[in-house]
């Protein structure tokens, strides 16, 4: 709302700073408004630039950025960039409706999080953890280190790229992504990758040590003689069926433990 002739412009350095300040975005989770302080923290330098000379505007800006907030941190910079662009307009015009800033933020954070959670928690972390585990199980310290790299290279790249996408293209970027069907293809690709890794882990990282012998032949050899690791797949299939039937996860877990205890007591596991 500054009426002075000097236009307040967002520079490249400002956007870089958004990236850096998004790193500790998660530091102050609270029940009441979740990541609201982290959100405001990231915007502090830019708000000072826009409203540093106007205490009343600063108060309003801080208040609107301390509202409830929670967005998947890895893609948060997109929304930061977009909101910075809106704040820039507000700072340079007399009659900008600041309610639209709040409503855009609130409207976008949920849906952007659905995308971010699916890609980062649903796929990238699964791949990172499975590669990490398979090495760590052999006692190889590269496991944890690779885990960290596989997860965080995309994490930092996404944060870096998305600031300027959010600032320069904003909603236009989302519209073009939706129109092009790129999001569907991205989901398709990441779920292929994720599912292949899960399939691999079903073969390697489940162990059902069945010890049931008929006429000197161990049943497990018969089953796994048809297809290697078939028993693992069958066990996974039955658990998957229970999960699909919405049986409570805690009950399934207890069930498996009871199965383990009974099985080892009778001597078949």
């Amino acid at each position: 709302m500054s009426s002075s002739a000097v236009e307040k412009k967002v520079t490249k350095a400002d956007l870089k700073q958004i990236f850096w300040r998004s790193i500790p975005y998660n530091a102050s989770f609270n029940y009441e408004r979740q990541l609201n302080m982290g959100w405001a923290y990231t915007l502090v330098p830019i708000l000072k630039k826009f409203y540093g000379d106007d205490n009343e505007e600063m108060t309003k800006a801080l208040t609107r950025h301390l509202e409830y907030n929670n967005i998947t941190p890895f893609i948060s910079t997109f929304l930061f960039g977009l909101i910075v662009a809106m704040e820039e307009k507000n700072a340079n015009s007399e009659d900008f409706d600041t309610k639209s800033i709040s409503s855009t933020k609130a409207g976008l954070m949920g849906s952007l999080s659905a995308i971010g959670d699916s890609i980062f928690f649903g796929t990238i972390r699964v791949i990172a953890a499975s590669v990490g585990c398979s090495l760590a199980l052999q006692g190889n310290p590269l496991g944890p280190i690779l885990y960290l790299l596989i997860f965080n290279v995309p994490n930092l790249i996404a944060r870096w790229i998305l600031v300027s996408k959010g600032y320069n293209l904003g909603v236009e970027f989302l519209t073009s992504v939706e129109k092009s069907g790129a999001m569907d293809r991205l989901f398709f690709g990441t779920s292929i990758l994720g599912l292949m890794v899960i399939g691999g882990m079903i073969g390697l990282n489940i162990s059902v040590p069945l010890q049931l012998t008929f006429f000197d032949t161990n049943l497990i050899d018969v089953i796994n003689g048809i297809v290697p690791n078939l028993l693992n797949l069958l066990f996974f299939g039955s658990i998957y069926w229970l999960v699909k039937k919405n049986v409570n996860v805690v009950w399934i877990m207890l069930g498996i433990i009871v199965l383990g205890i009974l099985g080892s007591l009778i001597g078949i596991l």
């Binding site: 405001a40 801080l62 999080s113 953890a129 585990c133 690791n229 080892s264």
Partner: protein, 259 residues
């Protein structure tokens, strides 16, 4: 194994570092698969710690913190579970048995800090906002991290003071139960995998799960190999599934905002 003060301090520092993940890009280094390496370094048994951490990670891989729901604190559970299992020499059974109870207890403690300390910070931040003090708001954000100091001290102290008690508890569990838990810990990962698969499986993508399975079962590829093949196949599949115009129109019709 007798726990020394230095080791307890070390475990406390591992916990403090793990909690700082919130400050550092939410880099996911608080998960058992990473903290086990640090616990192993502190206790001088990296190979065993890696195996324990990997096992816990496989067990809890399917648990995610999506949005606001707070699951049991398997981060603290992972650190102390691995540490106690090494200190008491109880191996995987010990780590698996201990992780979840510790995680549930840690969540209660964490909730206490979240409610009172973080509640205080939030309201202080509101006050600073009301007087237009941006630096004050930023300060409250950073101050919030302070709650991890007492948490980390508690973890170190629990490790120092708790080992003997944990040993007694684990010793008092009948052997057949511990055997059973050991057997079960090989099977529980199936649950995590099932939960993860359920998120992404569609008719179109189900074959890829079997493809990954076939790679390891018939070709003896390891998981890293599957990930590399998977990446190539995913890129190819995405490339060749570029929407053709006909499909695109069908999509548009399907996407209208009507029942």
């Amino acid at each position: 194994m007798e726990v020394t003060v230095m080791q307890a301090v070390g475990i406390g520092l591992v916990a403090l570092f793990a909690y700082m993940v919130d400050f550092c890009a939410y880099a996911q280094w608080d998960r058992p698969i990473f903290t086990c390496l640090l616990v192993g370094l502190v206790l001088g048994d990296v190979p065993q710690a890696l195996v324990l951490g990997a096992n816990l990670e496989l067990l809890y891989m399917g648990t995610m913190s999506i949005g606001a729901a707070l699951p049991p604190d398997i981060y603290t559970g992972g650190i102390l579970g691995v540490a106690f299992a090494i200190a008491t020499g109880t191996g995987i059974e010990g780590a698996v048995t201990l992780c979840l109870p510790i995680a549930s207890l840690a969540l209660v403690v964490k909730q206490f800090f979240y409610t009172f300390f973080r509640g205080y910070c939030t309201h202080r931040a509101d006050y600073y906002a009301s007087i237009g003090n941006a630096d004050g708001v930023a300060k409250m954000h950073i101050l919030s991290l302070l709650m991890w100091v007492p948490m980390a001290i508690l973890v170190g102290f629990a490790f120092y003071a708790g080992s003997a008690a944990v040993q007694t508890i684990l010793d008092s569990i009948p052997e057949f139960i511990m055997n059973g838990i050991s057997v079960a810990s090989g099977m529980i990962p199936a649950l995590g995998f099932a939960m993860l698969a359920k998120l992404t499986v569609t008719q179109k993508t189900l074959p890829f799960l079997f493809l990954g399975f076939a790679f390891v079962s018939y070709l003896g590829v390891d998981v890293t190999g599957v990930a590399i093949f998977g990446l190539i196949i995913a890129v190819l599949a995405v490339y060749f599934s570029k929407p053709n115009p006909a499909a695109a129109t069908a999509e548009v019709e399907d996407d209208d905002n009507e029942f």
